[in-house]
């Protein structure tokens, strides 16, 4: 076992050097840098819509690029497509497996996807007279925790089998498998330029991947428990993560380290989901304690709360034009706030 021991030592030495290099770049902290910025006004948002229709816990939701349509997934075994402005259900997609964990809307608006304990990502075409299953992407050996469309021909997935994968929708096969996490992958977020993505996993690490060459480019440490939610900061230079350790963190890709931790002594529940306002200034983070807390991303302060759900907030989303925020909950309702 001599070789293994040596390699372990080498790896440890490199990690120590990385920490030292990060410290060297740490010539200030975000809070001091942002001290000159005017504080965000106390945010008090009202519920503008409550979407009722699901019969069981809502696990996921995703906005369409048109800022009005959205898809939501519930353990009642359905995907619902909503025109959230009118509150009408545009479509209902019955799922083969009711243990759904994620859903996604393609940027074109033509397709939606879902996945969960069935270990598969199923893609549906919304534009055919009757909604059809286009493909069942079946190769993961663990549950599907998150899926995102790059286009109508490519899908990215994150799985409980600790891998992420890029799929070609025509062949239904995995084009690239992203291997590096040692815990279940729980979430992923695409960079604005679509050349890379970040993933969060139960190994408490967030990783940046190059979509083309499949390599893990950066690893971010700091959380002490599962990372359940992750999102790119607009502009693509930073990421925000939410974890079961009850905190959210901002990491910058260029500084290669953590900038801020968003935490509060009174917050004693894990973060389930998060979404950013269009400028990135506000973070809407859903927690297990039924609330969605709003953070000033630059100053690290809590500036508001969205309370109204009667059970855990499981998903949050801000549409591309940033006009509102949607929260979905285990209480089976979706609420739109601004």
């Amino acid at each position: 076992m001599g070789e293994m021991e040596q390699m372990k030592k080498e790896a440890e030495a490199l990690k120590t050097q990385i920490e030292a290099a990060r410290k060297a770049a740490h010539d200030t902290d975000m809070a001091s840098a942002a001290s000159g910025v005017a504080p965000a006004p106390r945010v008090q948002l009202k519920t503008r819509r409550t979407l009722k229709g699901h019969l069981a816990k809502i696990y996921a939701m995703h906005w369409c690029t048109d800022n009005r349509l959205m898809v939501s997934a519930s353990q009642d075994g359905k995907l619902l497509i909503w025109d959230s402005h009118t509150g009408n259900k545009v479509n209902a997609v019955p799922l083969k497996s009711s243990w759904v964990m994620t859903c996604a809307y393609a940027p074109s608006g033509n397709l939606v996807a879902s996945g969960g304990l069935d270990n598969m990502c199923t893609v549906y075409n919304l534009k055919t007279p009757v909604i059809k299953t286009v493909k069942e992407l079946d190769a993961h050996t663990g549950y599907l925790s998150c899926a995102r469309f790059l286009s109508d021909t490519e899908v990215l997935t994150a799985s409980g089998d600790t891998t992420c994968a890029l799929w070609d929708l025509e062949t239904g096969k995995q084009k690239t498998v992203f291997l590096n996490h040692v815990g279940d992958c729980m979430c992923l977020s695409l960079s604005p330029d679509m050349n890379s993505f970040v993933s969060g996993a139960c190994d408490s690490l967030a990783k940046l991947w190059d979509i083309r060459d499949g390599q893990c480019k950066q690893t971010f440490l700091g959380h002490t428990s599962d990372i359940n939610a992750i999102s790119f900061y607009p502009g693509g230079n930073a990421i925000i993560t939410g974890s079961d350790d009850c905190t959210c963190k901002m990491y910058d890709l260029r500084a290669d380290q953590e900038l801020i931790t968003y935490q509060d002594a009174a917050l004693n529940s894990g973060v389930t989901s998060l979404a950013l306002s269009m400028s990135g200034r506000l973070i809407f983070a859903g927690y297990d304690d039924f609330n969605c807390n709003i953070w000033d991303s630059l100053k690290g302060e809590k500036v508001g709360v969205l309370s109204g759900h009667d059970n855990r907030v499981s998903c949050t989303g801000v549409p591309p034009d940033g006009m509102c925020v949607c929260t979905g909950s285990w209480d089976s309702f979706l609420k739109i706030w601004n």
Partner: protein, 466 residues
């Protein structure tokens, strides 16, 4: 205080305990402070009617303590946190099944550590049956079953019809043990036991805080640490969970390590920007975009969610570019490329400079990436013929390295055949044409424009028509 299950670290550094443990520990820290003799909540015995109520404190006591000791100013926040802790069973109202915190004289009691959720309780229905059965053997009126409990008991009797004699015997035995206890002790233990069941079999309509996210529950990490039996019913202890997913096959250990080392080396070698620079960049980004963020700046004409007027969405989709939208193009080149109207205006500008082939090439390559695989080879050939082949009608100027690479790539055409050339052209447009576009009189005039323009005629063409 009972010791919660120990946190073992496995060899790859991942904590073995369930994610809930962190949350339980945080709550238990607060409980420990609440129970502190000097600075905690004062616990007292209250004399009522004909008896004493032992070991209680009021809801207001809790709220006040929280506000003083946990830095919580807002009463609503204190109630929220308190209700959360009550819902997990750390303290409970002595006369109510509904576990919530009220800021009044309602009496609460602490739960015994034995029943804390950090002990990984997953009590079985047989235990619940024993408990309800035992309750019916107690004669005191105050211990009568609530309606939902009576219903549950009836259901369980049907479900366990064959085992019922056994359950009955267990209930009798438990009742006997209980009778032997000191009266005051009994009051306390009875209430704690009831609170335990209120957590694991909540009143219909109340949230069950023991419900686990299916993503987490399919990762049963320590199945042998789970406690399933309150009353020691042996036959219900399982040795493993049926939902346990075996870990994926470990890769050949040495190979994995060398890949890891490569990864760490790459990460070490990457150039790191100083925090001050990074912070500055994030702050200026935020400053620039805050006027476009509907949460900070009221959008014009209105926010469709507030006014119910969808004009904002219609304008976005139209060819009209208002002043605010035009201003964004000046932030960075990517903003021009993102906006269809921006792209159109930039294209017309390039046409005037006879370099529109650059943008057209870039757009064609972007579109290629979304094409179905079967169309890719022919499309690659088309793009090559149009922009890069010797004598191409829209010849673009790429550096020799990218040109050679592309020549190689098209022999085996894929979606990324033109990646290097595209990057080169992107940089060219960004550093050269884009800055001239922003400085151009056409753009500047669009920026100053206050009047609405005729929708169908792009401004730039109007200028050229003079």
């Amino acid at each position: 205080m009972a010791q919660p299950s120990s946190c073992a670290q496995s060899s790859n550094g991942v904590a073995d305990e369930s994610p809930n443990m962190l949350v339980y520990r945080k709550m238990e820290d607060i409980i420990a402070r609440m129970q502190d003799e000097k600075n905690g909540i004062p616990i007292r015995t209250v004399k009522s009617f004909l008896s004493k109520i032992p070991s209680v404190f009021s809801g207001s006591d809790i709220v006040q303590w929280m506000q003083k000791n946990l830095n919580i100013e807002d009463q609503v926040e204190a109630l929220h946190l308190g209700t959360l802790m009550a819902a997990h069973g750390y303290f409970f109202p002595i006369s109510d099944h509904v576990l919530m915190l009220k800021d009044d004289g309602t009496f609460y009691r602490f739960q015994t550590p034995y029943f804390w959720p950090s002990n990984c309780w997953e009590p079985e229905n047989t235990d619940y049956a024993v408990y309800l059965c035992k309750r019916t053997m107690q004669n005191k009126a105050r211990l009568e079953l609530a309606d939902y409990e009576a219903e549950s008991l009836a259901r369980l009797q049907r479900a366990f019809a064959r085992k019922w004699e056994f359950i009955f015997m267990q209930a009798e035995a438990q009742a006997k043990v209980d009778k032997k206890r000191d009266k005051i002790e009994r009051k306390i233990l009875d209430s704690q036991e009831r609170a335990f069941w209120d957590v694991h079999r909540p009143v219909p309509g109340c949230v069950n805080t023991t419900e686990a996210d299916i993503k987490k529950s399919s990762r049963m990490k320590q199945p042998h640490k789970t406690r399933k039996s309150v009353y020691g019913l042996q036959n219900d202890i399982r040795s493993h969970s049926p939902t346990h997913t075996p870990a994926p096959d470990a890769k050949e250990p040495v190979l994995l390590s060398s890949l890891q080392i490569q990864h760490w080396q790459t990460q070490l070698d990457r150039h790191r920007l100083k925090m001050s620079k990074v912070a500055e960049s994030l702050l200026s980004f935020s400053e620039q975009y805050i006027e476009y963020d509907p949460f900070f700046t009221t959008p014009e004409p209105s926010n469709p969610w507030i006014s119910d007027d969808v004009t904002s969405w219609e304008l976005e989709a139209s060819k009209e570019a208002g002043q605010q939208r035009v201003k964004r193009w000046g932030f960075c080149f990517d903003e021009v490329l993102k906006d269809p109207v921006g792209r159109e205006q930039f294209l017309r500008f390039l046409e005037s400079e006879f370099s529109s082939e650059n943008l057209r090439f870039w757009l064609a390559v972007q579109e290629l990436k979304k094409r179905p695989i079967r169309e890719v080879p022919s499309r690659v050939q088309e793009i090559w013929d149009e922009f890069l082949a010797p004598g191409a009608p829209s010849a673009i100027n790429v550096d020799s390295r990218s040109y050679d690479k592309t020549t190689q790539n098209i022999k085996d055409p894929g979606r990324y055949a033109f990646q290097d050339a595209q990057e080169h052209i992107y940089k060219l447009m960004k550093s050269d044409s884009y800055s001239r576009f922003i400085r151009s009189s056409a753009y500047q005039e669009m920026l100053q424009a206050k009047k609405k323009r005729n929708k169908n005629i792009p401004f730039f063409v109007i200028k050229n028509m003079k």
